[in-house]
């Protein structure tokens, strides 16, 4: 097993917190923390495994090109709705979503569509939801948060469309930034 720098940061964090915890609460506090971490891990693992599987499947089903074609179609409110759906199914981290957004920008997509897409990806991203939120926060919390967040990417897109008419934010396409 190879340790990366990020792994070391995490291990260092645990060691530092462990020392502080021992200093404040003694051995019992550290044992309590270990037991709690263990039960958390055991409840998260089976869900995380399923979540990662979902992530892999979604990546197989929706490639970068598919999302781009999807987003190219339609303007106005319909465009924003499509952008919301596209953002929600875009798997992966910012290394996936921002290059897609940039490609769309150079292809002539408006500020509203781009902002809606990015916000939908960050707020409703299906993979993040199933891999992390559902296992750790539970179904009740996750569904409430998802439900109230559903219309918000479109709202942000409408605001962005308005703002982009201001001179400060005026840009034609990403190609000439």
């Amino acid at each position: 097993m190879e340790m990366t720098r990020t792994d070391l940061v995490f291990v260092g964090l645990v060691v530092a917190l462990g020392v502080i915890c021992y200093g404040i609460g003694g051995t019992q506090a550290v044992i309590d923390a270990l037991l709690q971490a263990k039960s958390l891990l055991l409840s998260v693992l089976p869900q995380l495994a399923g979540g990662l599987l979902i992530g892999g499947m979604v990546k197989q089903l929706v490639g970068r090109e598919k999302i781009s074609t999807l987003l190219g179609a339609g303007a106005g409110l319909r465009g924003l709705i499509v952008a919301t759906a596209a953002g929600a199914v875009t798997p992966g981290g910012p290394f996936m979503s921002f290059p897609i957004a940039y490609a769309l920008w150079t292809a002539g997509a408006g500020a509203g569509v781009l902002v809606t897409y990015i916000v939908a990806w960050s707020l409703l991203g299906f993979v993040k939801l199933t891999v992390w939120e559902l296992p750790l926060m539970g179904i009740e919390f996750t569904s409430v948060r998802f439900l109230v967040s559903l219309p918000l990417p479109i709202l942000a897109g409408l605001v962005a469309e308005r703002l982009s008419r201001l001179r400060v934010f005026h840009f034609d396409t990403g190609a000439e930034r």
Partner: protein, 168 residues
């Protein structure tokens, strides 16, 4: 917890069926490799993140948390959580364990919804490392401004649902 487990595996199974239909067994194998690839970096980090969260729960002064974003704090709590969310460092592996700690420390559901939404849309870390370099600062600022009310509305919506369903 068992219900969400069932749901997750139901979705995973349904998607596997879809992948086989669209891309055949080769596609399924590729998806499996993809999943395994996502799992590998977690082997050390996930137990560490959860342990760090559990240790934090033991030592963090939890009183101020419940005062600031507790279930009784209403709109000021939602606003505070929205701002707090923007400054949470790192990805979901760090943020969701922190949210669990805050939940157990007495943070309210609307406030936590605002916190997660605030982190999702603002994430200053991501803005610096991805959004500004790829999309330009002008776009990043435009998007930032367009999202200002998003976490607050999310928290408000959650509060509305909570009061409609009669939860405390």
């Amino acid at each position: 917890m068992t219900f969400s487990l069932g749901l997750i595996w139901f979705i995973a199974t349904a998607l596997s069926g879809l992948v086989i239909k669209v891309a055949g067994v080769t596609g399924l194998k590729a998806a499996g490799r993809e999943s395994l690839g996502m799992f590998k970096p977690l082997v050390i980090r996930l137990p560490c993140a959860l342990l760090a969260a559990a240790l934090l729960m033991q030592i963090a002064p939890l009183d101020p948390v419940s005062k600031l974003i507790g279930s009784g704090t209403g709109m000021p709590g939602i606003l505070a959580a929205s701002v707090l969310g923007a400054f949470l460092p790192g990805g979901p592996m760090v943020v969701f364990p922190i949210a669990v700690v805050l939940q157990q420390a007495g943070a309210g559901v609307p406030q936590l919804v605002a916190l997660i939404a605030g982190w999702s849309v603002f994430d200053l870390n991501r803005m610096l490392t991805y959004e500004a370099p790829v999309m330009s600062w002008r776009f990043a600022i435009l998007r930032f401004l367009s999202c200002l009310v998003v976490p607050v509305l999310a928290g408000f919506g959650a509060q509305l649902i909570q009061s409609l369903s009669g939860a405390p």
